[in-house]
């Protein structure tokens, strides 16, 4: 087995471990009934943490073996960066666990990490050779520090989500219930994205088309999802390929749109299925799991993780980024979309911290802000990388 295969297997082990740990934590909370089973619950919880740590070590093993194999830090394409982000997120969870000894954090942190890793695996996994501007130690330091900062900031959203799941009454109609359910619906959509990709990949679906881009140049494109939306003036190259249902104008990247629509479709079906089977909203389904949570403590964990993450994020995403940009292009700042979105993230968390200075912005409001902050981080990872083109764009 070559090093890259070992690396891939370690990542798989990590994934399975996180999955098992999620179930264990769910179990530990479920069994914490007032019938004196508290001791058993903490045992399950501890086991979950041990399994998580094993998963994390395997994940770290993936990272290091891949690094050795390719000779470059594995954070230079979508697959690598996103997988690493998942790893740092688990690391941040473990760190916070040892600080506060609350397993309930894992109830949200682990599934989110699972979704992130699953989503990462949808991207091409081979090692990408580095273009000259990416061959810099400062870049490595910048990307890793920024990702660690982001993952600690993300823990505040984890704590926030748990906080909201407990305080928001799933039986009372209102804006809060709607939006909280919307957040969970969004997570199901990402699962839908993964499910659709896995399914079409399993049946080996692949069609090639040629199309005319907005500069009137003819190019080719591969579809791994059946084309609901076709590229501008697309014609099938593969024999017997499906005709797109709707053809899009040149300024829309129809292949990406197609994936988004498939994700929405599959995700919504999944969501409807959950609702039909459980006969409940997802928040109502999760609500019993968080009943034992100490709200005051989770509010504090949310705040604390922003406090810990913000300086690291500032260092990595702004300071190191500026040093690298100065070295590569002779200007520490160039208003590139990725740079701007790092600045936006930073400003947002600065606003979070200042809002907390006045009493009213603790608890629920603060938890909502943490969720929005995570939304910005994800936007930066997904939309800015894949849709808004720039120097950092991977696609």
């Amino acid at each position: 087995m070559s090093l890259i295969d070992i690396s891939g297997n370690l990542l798989f082990v990590a994934f399975v471990a996180y999955l098992v740990a999620t179930l264990l934590i769910g179990g530990s909370i479920k069994s914490a009934k007032p019938d004196g089973a508290a001791g058993r619950a903490t045992k399950w919880g501890q086991l979950a943490i041990i399994v998580t740590i094993i998963g994390f070590l395997a994940h770290l093993g993936y990272f290091i073996t891949r690094w050795i194999y390719s000779g470059q830090v594995p954070v230079s394409n979508m697959f690598e960066f996103t997988t690493a982000f998942g790893m740092f997120l688990i690391g941040a969870f473990i760190y916070m666990y040892f600080m506060y000894r609350v397993t309930a954090l894992g109830l949200v942190a682990l599934p989110i990490a699972l979704i992130i890793i699953g989503w990462a695996a949808m991207f091409p996994r081979e090692v990408t050779p580095l273009v000259p501007s990416l061959q810099s130690h400062w870049l490595t330091i910048h990307v890793i520090t920024a990702a660690i900062g982001q993952s600690i900031l993300a823990i505040s959203a984890v704590a926030g989500l748990i906080y909201l799941l407990k305080v928001i009454d799933a039986k009372k109609k209102g804006k809060e219930r709607f939006w909280l359910e919307a957040v969970l619906y969004f997570l199901v959509i990402i699962v839908g994205n993964i499910a659709a990709s896995v399914a079409f990949n399993a049946v080996g679906y692949e069609d090639r088309y040629s199309y005319i881009n907005k500069d009137e140049i003819e190019l080719q494109i591969i579809y791994n999802h059946p084309p609901i939306f076709g590229m501008n003036e697309s014609t099938a190259i593969t024999e017997g390929a499906m005709e797109p249902l709707i053809e899009m104008p040149a300024f829309i990247h129809a292949q990406k749109l197609n994936i988004v629509v498939w994700s929405l479709l599959v995700g919504t079906i999944l969501y409807v299925l959950i609702r039909l089977i459980a006969r409940k909203r997802i928040i109502e389904l999760l609500n019993p799991l968080v009943q034992k949570v100490n709200l005051q403590l989770f509010d504090e964990i949310g705040y604390r993780s922003v406090l810990i993450g913000f300086p690291i994020f500032s260092l990595g995403a702004l300071v190191f980024a500026m040093i690298w940009a100065q070295e590569a292009w002779g200007r520490f700042w160039g208003w590139d979309p990725k740079e701007v979105w790092a600045l936006i993230t930073w400003l947002f968390y600065a606003a979070y911290l200042h809002l907390r200075l006045s009493k009213g912005w603790e608890g629920k409001k603060s938890a909502w802000l943490a969720l929005i902050g995570f939304g910005i981080i994800i936007f930066n990872l997904v939309v800015v990388n894949l849709v808004i083109a720039g120097l950092h764009s991977y696609a």
């Binding site: 273009v131 501007s133 061959q135 604390r304 300086p311 260092l315 002779g330 979105w341 400003l347």
Partner: protein, 550 residues
């Protein structure tokens, strides 16, 4: 100025919420609160005490955290709008019309709107800069407004506090010692607190233990760093603070470096290397054949000797040899030269023969350097070719029927020659473009023509020259910012007040500016060690009660 006199007799400035001497709440609001608002320890801040004059109003506006947060949010939203479509500096068009066309063709009417509203160059608009400036003012004003009273209240704390203060702290314990001799309690409390790195002060049977006070200055330090950084960014725009030039240099050429007086650069060679990997999925999807591995220009940097005349090139001293690569600029004397661009096989020279159209006799050849054309090329006494006009990047005729050039780069050169020959001493005009040989009016009657015989190409490297005197300021500002951020975030200010009452009972109160979990763990340890009465967290209990009431 008016004063508020506390029950203990101490005079506090107007606006004070908690007596700085004994800690009694001074406002009705404070007296009705279960837990005191301990921000700035209740001391008066300027913006809360002055609001009469215009200056006061401006001051109060900028010192408000609400306004500060609003500014941050506005900036954030505005900045995000600038990423919807590419900014103008990423667009390759040179002219206003070209830019307008770019936004229209790529993004339709929305693009045109974006361009017309000025959003396509948002970050350099005056109003964006004003927003950043207001943020800066807000940081300065708010920091002065709160920093000074905070500093005062932190440095003159009394040990002994009134029970109305103690009882209104979030963490409070009252009662008898649970075990052992109460007369030893204060002693063991102090011993334990010192072990936990608290600084302990006494006042009779009361003590105040404190640690991490310096962390309260963290936000102010980081704000100072931010201001220094912003100052650097502003200075950058003053003339003479920075150099930002670019140059094209061909293999083998020696040129003066723009913006770097007295220095010359010789390019030995531009090198492009590519990876020899198998194409990756992403490459296939995007139709990218090869991935670049290295862009490099091997150069020699020269300096003119001190007594040389400006522009003189025969008296050059070698400063250093270097290979400029991406991420590895050539650095010298505060200047840096970056590898930014390249052109392979660029047209360098074109050779024409002055040919008699009928007989085919060639009077001579001329070779034109396309970057530095001469105005005339002499073949012999009676024969020469004048270069009347030169269009390096010829794109056809404009509305007035004149030839035009798109860029100064010799991508598609066109020439207007005046051919002076023994037969035609007055000269014959000829228009020559390589792709279209358009003959000007009357050209068909010409006796001679300029026949294209060959072209020479060469590689070119595009370099940028940069110098920025504000960088040190930015480094200092950034460093102070990070330092302050770490101080304010990774340490916290914890205080424990303990008093043994006359009957031996203990009263304990504790406060921290953040991380209650941490201080509670310490007080748990203290309680166990010194057998103190169990404390309550008034906020948690309050929440629990609310829950039950619902």
């Amino acid at each position: 100025m008016e004063k508020i006199v506390c029950a203990c007799g101490h005079e506090n400035p107007l606006g004070t919420k908690i007596c700085s001497n004994c800690g009694r709440p001074l406002t009705e609001e404070g007296k009705s609160q279960k837990v005191l608002d301990m921000k700035y320890d209740g001391s008066a801040i300027r913006s809360k005490t002055h609001n009469k004059s215009f200056v006061d109003k401006v001051w109060n506006f900028f010192s408000s955290v609400k306004v500060g947060v609003a500014l941050i949010i506005i900036l954030l939203v505005v900045a995000s709008i600038g990423t919807i479509f590419p900014q103008e500096f990423f667009v390759a068009a040179g002219t206003e019309a070209g830019k307008a066309l770019y936004y229209e063709t790529n993004y339709g009417s929305l693009g045109t709107l974006y361009y017309n509203l000025g959003l396509s160059d948002l970050y350099s608009t005056w109003w964006f800069q004003v927003l950043v400036g207001m943020l800066g003012v807000s940081i300065i004003v708010a920091s002065i407004d709160r920093g000074i009273p905070l500093h005062k209240s932190l440095t003159k704390q009394r040990v002994k506090r009134h029970e109305s203060f103690m009882r209104r702290q979030r963490i409070i314990a009252e009662g008898a010692v649970t075990e052992g001799d109460p007369s030893k309690t204060l002693y063991s409390v102090e011993e334990k607190l010192k072990k936990m790195n608290y600084k302990v002060r006494h006042d009779g049977s009361a003590l105040l233990a404190e640690k991490g006070r310096f962390s309260r200055y963290g936000p102010y330090i980081n704000h100072v760093g931010l201001i220094i950084f912003l100052l650097g960014v502003m200075l950058h725009q003053l003339p003479g603070m920075h150099v930002d030039e670019s140059m094209w240099i061909r293999d083998g050429e020696t040129r003066a470096i723009p913006g770097m007086d007295g220095y010359f650069l010789e390019s030995k060679k531009f090198i492009l290397e590519t990876h020899d990997n198998d194409p990756t999925t992403a490459q296939i999807q995007q139709g990218v054949a090869v991935i670049a591995k290295n862009y490099q220009t091997d150069v020699v940097l020269y300096k003119q000797s001190d007594d040389a005349l400006p522009g003189e090139t025969n008296n050059l001293e070698v400063v250093k040899e270097y290979s400029i690569r991406v991420n590895h600029p050539l650095e010298h004397d505060g200047y840096s030269l970056y590898q930014m661009d390249y052109r392979l096989n660029e047209l360098k020279e074109m050779t024409f023969s002055l040919t008699n159209k009928e007989t085919g006799t060639v009077l001579g050849n001329i070779t034109i350097d396309l970057r530095n054309p001469k105005s005339e090329y002499v073949i012999d006494e009676n024969t020469k070719v004048e270069l009347m006009e030169y269009y390096p990047d010829y794109t056809g005729f404009n509305d007035e029927g004149k030839p035009q050039t798109a860029t100064p780069n010799p991508n598609n050169p066109a020439f207007i020659f005046n051919m002076i020959t023994p037969e035609k001493p007055k000269g014959e005009i000829s228009f020559v473009a390589i792709q279209q040989t358009v003959e000007g009016s009357g050209a068909s009657e010409n006796t001679y023509k300029m026949a294209f015989t060959g072209v020479d190409t060469i590689n070119m490297s595009g370099l940028t020259i940069r110098m920025d005197k504000t960088i040190p300021l930015l480094i200092v500002g950034g460093f102070i910012f990070l330092l302050g951020l770490a101080i304010g975030s990774y340490w916290n200010h914890r205080r424990v007040w303990i008093e043994q009452l006359a009957d031996g009972q203990i009263r304990l109160a504790a406060h921290t500016n953040k991380n209650w979990f941490g201080i509670k763990k310490e007080i748990d340890a203290l309680t166990e060690y010194a057998h103190l009465p169990q404390y309550v967290d008034q906020l948690v209990d309050e929440k629990e009660k609310e829950k039950k009431d619902e």
